[in-house]
Amino acid sequence: MSEIETQKLMNFLIDMDRIGTRSYIDSLAAKTSYSKVIETIIAKTLEEVGKKWEEGILSLSQVYMSGRICEELVDEILPPGNNQRKNQPKMAITVFEDSHMLGKRIVYATIRSAGFYITDYGKTDIKSLTAHLHKDTPEILFISVLMLPSALHLKAFICELRKDFPSTKVIVGGAPFLYDEGLWKEIGADAMGHTATDAIMILEQVMKEK
């Protein structure tokens, strides 16, 4: 899939043109397949959108709507339970100690848009997150954080997680990590995402290592 196709899709998304987006994806899929379009062009386009947000060219609202539009389309094309979703790592996502769900929502939509299934734990604290993990241990846990104190609270949680759930990878993201590049290492996370599509690259890396 070419850069021109990525750029065209991006233009539909940042204009929030759902109909144009669907029509364009249909036209691309007609030449190859929907799963190919999802894996390559949609993922690549959202990656570009994320990069442009980091560079200050696009805004968070555009990232959010791009993710939402793609997520809805992928759910139409590839409903949950579809056998193309097999062999995926078990994943979960949460917002830690905050009610602002936007960052998590964007990552969730981006991961779903790439054809993956992910469980949403919603808002958690140390106690409720630990309870989730005991019930349903994911291979990859994405944690969205808004406030610096919450990021620092994660350190103790991650330390305990390593003992009880050693194979769970912890990927963090959110404002405190964007303003302090060393923070994710300080708290013991496995990686951090600058943008939502970093989540895709990280989980694909985990799948390769399996």
């Binding site: 696009l58 805004s59 609202s61 709507m65 009610s99 769900m101 104190p149 405190p176 303003y179 923070l183």
Partner: protein, 355 residues
């Protein structure tokens, strides 16, 4: 003029008039650090106006900061709307669940009355106490959430985006309600003794929305609201980017803008000089693990980039310094301003290579 030591008020007024005062003004926007000074928990500290008044007085004296800050926490406003506030031991109090549960709630929303809201009344008492301390020599800065940004706490980010994009009728209805509150609340603070209002508007930054949407929403609201606030204002975007909208912000009527570490201070100064002063842009999140040397270097760099000609107040880039930033770093920042911030700024002496 530059040999005389100015009061903080004189210093700040000079720089806002694009004149060079005796030294670069410093706004160390400290809030929860007052609790540390008094040996109280954050929740206890915010429970009584006299604690905050004493805390601000001690902090101002300790760090030679050029303002008294009447801001407690952002959700003091959502408290007035009936929202919950969640206190913690080591961070700013946070807003609880949204007070607007669905867009249709907006039709029945009533504007809180400032003088009937205990949380707001507390701030008014604090401002009156700070006025006694200031005696007109130290600017008192109040904070009000912009009508455009307040809904992030009232209804959650995602629901609010959906409202802006899909229910424009209800969006403008909410803006009318919020604007009435914002103006009342800001003017109540001015009447109590605030010298300048910080209009907190992160949603208008291009980090969050594109310029064309800003021009149709936050920009119109800012122009309309700021004209009704009876004091000079500064718009703060809470670390958000603004270079792409800086000329638009300049015509809102604001005197100053809070600027982000994510943009070049030199470029921001060049783009705004003569129109708005800039306030910023030290990285408060990273500050927690700075060394004293790093703190001094960051201050020197900011001064070189933005201080010449006035129109600059050194501050952090978010509008509040995290609780985790230790005292020695705050001292280092303050000392660096005293050492390197005297006008005229000597760029060669100030250069980071000439240590």
């Amino acid at each position: 003029m530059k040999d005389k030591v100015m009061t903080s008020m004189e210093r700040v007024l000079a720089t806002l008039s694009f004149k060079e005062p005796d030294r670069v003004p410093l706004f160390l926007l400290l809030t929860m650090h007052g609790a540390k000074e008094l040996g109280l928990s954050i929740k206890e500290y915010y429970s009584k106006p006299e604690y905050v008044i004493e805390g601000q007085a001690r902090l101002q004296k300790k760090y030679q900061t050029d303002c008294l800050y009447a801001f407690l926490y952002a959700s003091v406003e959502t408290e007035a709307w009936g929202g919950e506030v969640i206190f913690s031991d080591d961070g700013p109090p946070n807003a609880g669940a949204p007070v607007i549960h669905s867009p249709d709630d907006i039709m029945g929303l009533n504007t809180p009355r400032v003088y009937e809201s205990p949380s707001l009344e507390k701030v008014i008492k604090i401002i009156k106490g700070l006025k006694e301390i200031s005696k007109g020599n130290i600017p008192i800065i109040g904070v009000v959430m912009s009508p455009f940004s307040l809904p992030v706490m009232q209804m959650g980010f995602e629901a609010y985006f959906d409202l802006i994009l899909n229910r424009i009728d209800l969006f403008w209805k909410l803006m009318g309600i919020n604007q009435a509150f914002c103006v009342d609340w800001a003017n109540a603070q001015v009447e109590a003794g605030v010298n300048a209002m910080c209009y907190f508007d992160p949603l208008s930054s291009t980090t969050i929305i594109p310029r064309d949407l800003y021009l149709k929403t936050g920009h119109i609201i800012a122009k309309n609201t700021l004209s009704r606030i009876k004091s000079p204002t500064a718009i703060h975007f809470a670390s958000g980017r603004i270079l792409k909208i800086i000329d638009d912000v300049a015509v809102t009527g604001t005197s100053a803008v809070g600027v982000s570490i994510k943009e070049s201070l030199a470029e921001l100064k060049k783009a705004s000089y003569g129109k708005m002063s800039i306030i910023g842009n030290l990285n408060g999140i990273e500050m927690r693990r700075w060394t004293e040397e790093k703190a001094e270097n960051e201050v020197r760099k900011a001064i070189i980039d933005a201080a010449p000609g006035g129109g600059f107040i050194l501050s952090d880039n978010h509008g509040e310094i995290p609780f985790q930033v230790p005292d020695n770093i705050l001292y280092a920042i303050s000392s660096a301003v005293q050492k390197w911030g005297k006008y005229p700024i000597n760029k060669y002496e100030n250069s980071l290579t000439s240590t």
